[in-house]
């Protein structure tokens, strides 16, 4: 990887996990792994976040919470499912109170395997998430459903016109090589 065009802010929510992945998500931000060198910041506010990091499976009580956090995030957004439980239930798959992985309530863009996940793979997934984020941003510009909004924003001066964004070097390319 030579270049990342955006500093991704993440929001982390612990579904019904064992904590192992949660502490590894935090460990990825602390000095040994130091994801902050890519500009990754852990935020508590869904509206500030680009990447939603979910650990653990989904149960009856936390399904609405996960959905609500996802809905509060602004487009474009990326969901990273961290760990075996978030990918598909893991060891708890057959438990009566586990509905399944994160993808049983919200669409997931990147799956990180491991029980517990290693901080290296979390960083890998977040950096790959930046690439997906850019593709989504590009698709939004092409999509006529979003066109009205971007036009009205451009008229009010709130947004840089689309043509200018494309002129910025590297902004249109994938962030990850």
């Amino acid at each position: 990887m030579s270049y990342v065009s955006k500093s991704p802010w993440i929001i982390h929510y612990d579904g019904s996990s064992c904590n192992g992945c949660d502490i590894e998500v935090l460990a990825a931000l602390t000095p040994l792994y130091d994801a902050e060198r890519f500009g990754v910041v852990n935020t508590g506010n869904p509206k500030h976040a680009d990447i939603f990091v979910v650990t653990g499976g989904v149960n009856e009580q936390n399904a609405p919470v996960i959905k609500q956090i996802y809905d509060q995030m602004l487009e474009p957004k990326v969901v990273v499912a961290c760990g075996a439980c978030a990918c598909g239930g893991g060891v708890y798959q057959t438990c009566y109170n586990v509905l399944g992985g994160t993808d049983s309530v919200i669409p997931v863009d990147a799956y990180v395997p491991g029980c517990a996940v290693r901080p290296e793979s979390i960083i890998d997934a977040v950096v790959a998430g930046v690439g997906i984020l850019e593709e989504k941003a590009k698709a939004m510009k092409m999509n006529p459903a979003h066109k009205d909004r971007s036009e009205s924003d451009a008229a009010s001066g709130a947004h840089v016109p689309v043509a200018q964004v494309d002129d910025v070097p590297g902004a249109s390319g994938a962030g990850v090589e």
């Binding site: 904590n19 949660d22 460990a27 029980c115």
Partner: protein, 362 residues
């Protein structure tokens, strides 16, 4: 009387690594009542005992909680060994206690970091977690896992850890002790840190007794409860063991107790490594628990007393496995300590009980 307001706290909150919900009833800025609601992490692991046989269930107990994973597999294995009358080797007993104390060091360092983050001292959080990585490196070197080790099993200890490796662990811990002293000094002597903790979230000795508090939370209110005093396993071989107590009962006292427990754990490991006997670490396990045989075990987890109960049904599957974890005991005390606290101090009070919701809800 001023008007009461209810502020929801959690399940998704920056200071909480795990989801728990609290309805805080406030009068102006003061909390008059806190109503906890749990269930966000409930998976139903005790029921899973019907689908996994007793050797497979070790891996499930490890995944009750990623922070106290070794403690849970230790408690479960001891429980099954008692149920089936298995005698494990002395070396395995020593290794188990050494690893249990190592996980206490990692758990307390993790907590000290979260506490520092809770009062906004981010540099201290980063330093505590930097030191914690040294302990995780030991785990990775010896067992291959950073947080889930699958090292403790029914019948002993899965990995043979050589005496040279154990001596290496002692050297790493001695180096860690020196670095740790600077962090401990900041946590205990810095005036800005003290101003956030002294006198906050007070729980008296009588209250702690009345609510049956366990672990460092109880010891900070002067209650002498520590399962290590029972001397189960290699704890009985220690030349002396005194639980660390404080009588102040506030957030500062809880921090103080945990800071000192890290040093105490290093001492325990040093002593056991010097005395560890030679021999095998695993004994073969055959058969299955008898029908209606029952047993219970208690264990001092980093957060306090954990209780294990198992009942056999004559086959490879257990009839019942019950675990009571320290945080489920401590939630009542947390609610008591919260009433009267300022709203801004609520995260501090919640953090100082060291809540482990995954353990509590299983």
């Amino acid at each position: 009387m001023s008007k009461r307001t209810v502020i929801p706290f959690g399940p998704q909150h920056p200071v909480l690594p795990e989801p728990v919900h609290l309805d805080l009833v406030l009068e102006d800025e003061r909390v008059v009542n806190a109503i906890p609601r749990i269930g966000y992490v409930h998976r139903g692991l005790e029921k899973l005992v019907e689908k996994r046989d007793y050797t497979q269930f070790v891996y499930v107990t490890e995944r009750i909680c990623g922070i106290c994973s070794f403690g849970h597999s230790l408690g479960y294995s001891q429980c099954i060994e008692q149920l089936m009358g298995i005698e494990i080797t002395d070396r395995a007993e020593y290794l188990r206690v050494i690893f249990h104390e190592l996980s206490r060091i990692h758990s307390h360092l993790l907590w000290l970091g979260l506490l520092a983050d809770g009062f906004g001292f981010e540099a201290l959080f980063m330093h505590a977690w930097r030191l914690r990585e040294q302990v995780l490196d030991i785990f990775e070197e010896c067992t291959g896992g950073r947080v889930i080790f699958s090292a403790c099993d029914v019948g002993g200890f899965r990995q043979e850890v050589s005496n040279e490796t154990l001596k290496g662990i002692v050297i790493v811990l001695e180096r860690l002790r020196e670095e740790y002293r600077t962090i401990a000094k900041t946590l205990l002597d810095d005036s800005s840190v003290k101003s956030r903790m002294v006198g906050v979230g007070y729980l008296s000795h009588e209250q702690a007794k009345e609510y049956s508090m366990v672990g460092p939370f109880a010891r900070a209110s002067g209650l002498e409860v520590d399962e290590r005093l029972l001397g189960v396993g290699a704890y009985g071989e220690l030349s002396s063991f005194e639980p660390i107590l404080s009588d102040q009962g506030d957030c500062y006292a809880r921090c103080d107790v945990r800071v000192k427990e890290v040093l105490q754990s290093i001492d325990i490991i040093n002593e056991l490594v010097a005395k560890i006997p030679e021999g095998d670490v695993m004994v073969p396990v055959k058969g299955s628990p008898e029908k209606d045989a029952e047993t219970m075990m208690t264990l001092e987890q980093p957060r306090g007393q954990a209780f294990y109960y198992a009942k056999g049904n004559g086959s490879k599957f257990l009839a019942r496995m019950r675990i009571r974890t320290p945080t489920s005991q401590n939630i009542a005390g947390m609610v008591a300590a919260l009433s009267g606290a300022e709203l801004a101090d609520v995260p501090m009070v919640i953090l100082t009980i060291d809540p482990c919701i995954s353990c509590t809800e299983r």
